[in-house]
Amino acid sequence: MAELTYREAVSRAIAQEMERDETVYFIGEDVAAAGGVFKTTEGLLERFGPRRVRDTPISEQAIVGAVMGGAMNGLRPIAEIMFSDFFAVCWDMIANQIAKTRYMTNGQVALPLVIRTANGGGVRFGAQHSQSVEAWAMAIPGLKVVVPSNPTDMIGLFAAAVRDPDPVIVVEPKALYAMKADVPDGEIVDRLGAATVLREGSDVTICVLGSMVHRAMDAAERLAADGIGAEVIDVRSLVPLDTQAILASTTKTGRFVTVEESPRLCGWGAEVASIVAEEVFYDLDGPVVRITTPHIPLPSTDALEDLAIPSPDVIVERVKASMG
């Protein structure tokens, strides 16, 4: 065991995979010499050299297009898109090209590639550098999407993503980069499509993702003090989705809540809630509850951003209200 920050876990994750497989390359803006604008990739250039760890121009279409073409011709490349908001300028590459090419060619083209990106709010960057875009990605058939909520998951899920034969978007909550946690020594390899029950409880299932995991855990602690047993499920992987874990917990508790750091409409929780409603409706003891940001762009100032993103207070309050 060693204590690692999330940002250190990112570089350890990339290094673990580059060490193992010489066809793994890593490119992006300011990722090599500068070590990443969030310092998530420090030391990789020195360790793996300027061919395998490489700075690009500010050309998101070229970056994502290059890893697609590279994957078509024998590499297992990793691209960093500095802020997930920038997906909007290379969305053709992701949504039209990477996601669809295998299907359109009836399986002729394999795209073993990873796009990792800093996502979400909580760091006062304003509306164009704070979005949670995981729902954009999960809406496109052909993309796998994972959101690690702690350093160990970052390494394990990232390794699973690199080793996966399909394109995977790794969404890193930038509010968690400074988070520290004990991480096991040695190689860590997880699998895609497995949710984790972080805390058991019998009264309500709280389904969470990314930075909201920690707020939900705080809320669960406080709910416990009031005699409410909250079961917290870290979804971790939106595609593939571990619906069985979610449905089993909901069947047990009879109540289902999502906490999402994204605007209300079409957040990931809407899809999960619809599955719950369709498949275990008669096991529910009350209405499904979605806790999201309001349907607005995120404001910059802390006074307003903190109002927008679900807090432990809000989670406690909404859960209690839903239980009557």
Partner: protein
């Protein structure tokens, strides 16, 4: 015609066998696309189709110089490039007809013809998208030291989209073995390219912005086209980085099957049809001593090839219903949940 450098340095002349092969490829491509058009009018080819009638010399010139492991990326006007890369004609025709024996099992269609086994890495239907992807394939070729060259064909309209500029800069900075070939047929869909572009030659006049030699070639001259292909592919293969070629050409028909192309002056159409690369090469070959009967035999053989491919394609069944849900993922399926 242009401030750009015209390519004329590419002698010696292509040898006879290669010229006959280029002739054969152009004739097969022409007859194939005419058949596609006929089948479209019969309602058998659905959706849309973008024909390259009149533009065949460009794809043929490159096809004649590429090695088996080289890679080609093309656009939704990509029937000819895919065919001349070696994709089986019957499987291409079957794809256009939406049959199970189609090259993509009916999932791709006219705008997405692909045969990875032949290095035909796909036809891309979002303008410009394949340019960064082609650069990426060239990046992998360079890093893996495979000796491959990547050729990326695109239209004149592409020169005004961001991906064009991102890909060129990227390919030059990383010194990638890729040749970008602009097929300037003078119209971006329905609009004259000149009327929406800041420069006269939409690709060649941009070359200097990326420290590239401006190369402007008559895309309807099969000999010149082959010479430029030879030179630019050799440059890429020898490690001298990317090239940007602008080949002037003209499509005999409209943008797509929906377009009668009435926006083009009749005299302009007549002038370009008179410069059709196939009769031009035929006349030259005869003038250079090739027997007309040799060329006639190539023509007849091409007709048989197209007839046979059409029959084979039409004999195929529609895709099995189960294939709707296959090949989204590498495990062969499309499941997203447990």
């Amino acid at each position: 015609m242009s401030k750009a450098v015209r390519s004329r340095s590419d002698k010696p002349r292509t040898d006879e066998a290669v010229r006959l092969e280029i002739y054969r490829m152009m004739v097969e491509a022409r007859l194939f696309e005419r058949r596609v058009h006929d089948l479209f009018l019969q309602g058998l080819v659905k959706g849309t189709s973008h024909l390259a009638l009149g533009q065949e010399a460009i794809a043929a010139g490159y096809a004649a110089v590429l090695q088996p492991n080289d890679l080609v990326y093309c656009t939704y006007r990509g029937h000819v490039h895919t065919l001349l890369r070696g994709a089986p004609m019957a499987a291409l025709m079957a794809e256009l007809l939406g049959r199970a024996n189609g090259i993509c099992g009916g999932k791709g269609g006219s705008m997405h013809l692909t045969d990875v086994s032949k290095g035909a890495m796909g036809s891309y239907a979002i303008v410009g998208a394949h340019m960064p992807i082609a650069a990426g394939a060239a990046w992998a070729a360079k890093e893996r030291e495979t000796g491959q060259v990547v050729v990326c064909f695109f239209g004149d309209g592409t020169t005004n989209i961001g991906a064009f500029h991102e890909a060129l800069n990227f390919a030059v900075v990383w010194e990638l073995p890729v040749v970008f070939v602009c097929e300037n047929n003078l119209y971006m869909e329905y609009t004259p390219i000149r009327s929406v572009t800041a420069v006269e030659n939409p690709a060649a006049d941009r070359a200097s912005a990326y420290a590239l030699e401006p190369i402007l070639v008559d895309g309807n001259d099969p000999d010149e086209m082959h010479a430029v292909a030879r030179r630019t592919v050799d440059l890429a293969r020898s490690g001298d980085g990317p090239s940007l070629v602008e080949a002037r050409t003209y499509r005999h028909g409209g943008h797509s099957r929906a377009d009668p192309a009435k926006y083009r002056p009749e005299e302009e159409v007549a002038e370009w049809v008179a410069r059709d690369p196939i009769p031009s090469l035929r006349e030259r070959l005869i003038a250079d001593g090739i027997d007309a009967t040799t060329l006639d035999e190539i023509d007849r053989a091409a007709e048989r090839v197209v007839d046979d491919a059409t029959a084979e394609a039409q004999a195929g069944p529609p895709p099995d219903r189960s294939t709707l849900l296959t090949e989204l993922w590498a495990d062969g399926g499309s499941e997203w949940r447990n």
